[in-house]
Amino acid sequence: MTRPTGAADVTGIPEFRLVKSYPGKHLLIRVLVVLTLTLGTWYVGWRWLFSVNWANWWIAVPLVVAETYALVDAYLFGLTMWRVKERGEPPLPPPDATVDVFVCTYNEPVELVLATARAAKRIEFPHETWILDDGDRPDMRAAAAEHGIGYITRSDDWTDRPRHAKAGNLNNALFQTQGEYMLILDADQVPDPRILDRTLGWFEDPKVALVQTPQFFVNVTESDPLGSQAPLFYGPIQQGKDGWNAAFFCGSNAVLRREALMQLGIVGYVKATEEAVRDALATAARLMSRVVREARRTSDPSLGTLAAVETAVREARQRLSAGAPVADVTYAFQQRVDAAARSMVAKDMRAIEDDLKAIEELGVDIDAELGVVVVDEDALDRLAERDWSPLGAIESVRELVKAVDVDRDDEAQPMMPLATVSVTEDMATCMRLHTLGWKSVYHHEQLAHGLAPEDLRTMLQQRLRWAQGTIQVMLRENPLVQKGLTLGQRLMYFATMWSYLSGFAAVVFIAAPVIYLCFGILPVKAFGLEFLIHFVPFMVANQLLFFVVGYGVKTWRGQQYSMALFPLWIRACWTAAANVFLGRPLGFVVTPKTRQARQPFPWRLIIPQTVAVAVLVLATLIGVLRLWTGASQAPIGTFVNVLWVAYDLLILSVIFRAAAFRAPDDDVETDPAHDDAPTNARQEQA
């Protein structure tokens, strides 16, 4: 098993080395997985069948559901660990490979970006280095030129079109470069000179599309109160996913194969174009049928022309359904509509002006935050129901189809190889690569180091965005039903998404002991010895599995945050659901661009956790008091619940440490996390 050795390299940065694990570790993990899941199934089975206190169903059912959630989580974790893959030494890189190194930036300080870019330039394997400046800053351009580093900004095509944040930045660069492979780096991720030599070899398998390396942060103290390092994720979890050919792309410190991305772009282009043209033609059909009916009623002289356009729409739809290529269908359609429009004379210019205004408000809209083009069904409906002048109707049909045609007039470039479906482009892109049959590799060697957020507010925003992005992908492209994925891959994606639902379970795990201690209301029929007999073995086996899997790395922070950030996870779930189903914005949080000097304790950020702690402490006092006064006759029940409260408090305590945390070095003014290009490390709660 590879793990941090604690050794320091010349720069004084602790380093992962490729270290083989002790023999028998895999077997031990598998034994513990089987043990944990057997005991867990036995416990939760006993809970459902024999110990749910149905009389108090309003707390009993949520509790057993929350426990079932945790068991499913344990199954998914066990499945991940079953195939932990330690790849060891990489093959030699193909000597003639051409590589572009992309340093992505939006608003980070020029010096910070430059430091990364200069390190990128020093990478030993032959390559070209580019700064992808989405901020289009003259001083950044000048600095790049001065150091002989390539500089790319958005082309003019992007003006007034959806920008798609970091995904758009990379998509733009893809069409301005030519390398076979590309290394993607966030602005603060300083690469090791050997990074390409150590990763390119994995591409000798022609089906490999991606090699991801760990993200590691150097501005983090030993105790890591903000939980920035994700040693369980960049370690056993990624290695486990790798075993199922589902290693995740995390947005930075990864090498991608251009051919795979381009193929993804073309497949996506075909799909988006087909769907949009089909929708637009359906609306056009409704619109024309209405206009023709009206013209027939009023014996409008242009009835013949309108009917011809209606026929053109109908035939275009028929040809499309019959499988005719989209470009053929739309070209023929536009020709016929153009001819019809020419044959008509504009009689009432004013009516047409009104119509043209309505055309501008076509039902093709841009999602303000994702920048995703969405066909607004309601607006399309309104368009179809509007009273059109004959020429206006024809114009609108023409514009409608034009907007979504094969030239994708609504997008800056017709192809978007990196997925733009979510605020976190990495997971969606990776899943689509896997559906096309590409492979991914997790290379467990630290080959870049970066900067983590240094205050609670920034950290919370970053986590919120990851969570929102992940849940968006789950809702928009549910991995469980994606064609082309193996069952293992589906479950690996689902596991990460499932883990973000932990906020709801956490609320129940806080509420249940409080309700028992305060009111003596039992969600479980027995809190006595029988309960302990069923529960303790599962608990112990689970912790043992964690201990063995995470031996030598710190997994406790991750465990704490998966529960302590419960308000954030819940917020992520409902904002993402509201965004996907109701089209609501995700909700912006203003990001301070530089860390504020000496701030007061940020109580406002942790109100729910503070309330939870107060209630837990109060409940303990009441519980003890009830036992003392004889109101409660169950010392074991009280004892179990007080222990439970103590565990909750221990978990929640981390958020207060984080809130009180002040970064030791006040000279650092950089804030690596902003809306556009966060270090897209996805920390998984296990």
């Binding site: 069409f175 030519q178 390398g179 076979e180 251009r258 051919e259 381009m262 193929q263 772009g265 073309i266 497949v267 282009y269 075909v270 799909k271 174009t273 087909e274 499988g323 005719a324 290529p325 989209v326 470009a327 053929d328 070209y331 045609d405 094969v406 030239d407 994708r408 007039d409 470039q413 017709p414 192809m415």
Partner: protein, 111 residues
């Protein structure tokens, strides 16, 4: 890869390709067709008969060129698709958008 753009008959321009249409050649092809369209050759047939290999970047250049032609009220079609190119078209579903024509004449028919 060789890109021959000399065959222009009014608005119809034939682009003949010879060799490997890959990530290195793709930007050149895109540039060449954009140039043609800007000079009035808005209806472009790309003759792929002599293309020995095409990758997704090559397809990407065709899509970008299609966009350019359409925006100039023109069109772009492909002709002379061999087996390897047909496989790539099928793999990416691009045959759902672009129809491969038998010959340049068949492609230009109807413009």
């Amino acid at each position: 890869m060789e890109i021959d753009t000399s065959d222009v008959r009014g608005k119809v321009a034939v682009v003949r390709l010879d060799g490997r249409l890959n990530m290195v050649a793709a930007p050149r092809l895109k540039g060449a067709i954009e140039d043609l369209v800007d000079h009035g050759g808005t209806h472009v047939v790309v003759d792929l008969t002599a293309v020995t290999f095409m990758d997704s970047s090559g397809l990407g250049a065709l899509i970008a060129a299609l966009k350019k032609a359409r925006q100039a009220q023109g069109d772009l079609r492909i002709a002379g698709v061999n087996e390897q190119v047909a496989t790539v078209l099928k793999l990416t579903n691009l045959d759902r958008v672009l129809r491969p024509f038998e010959s340049v004449e068949a492609a230009a028919d109807g413009w």
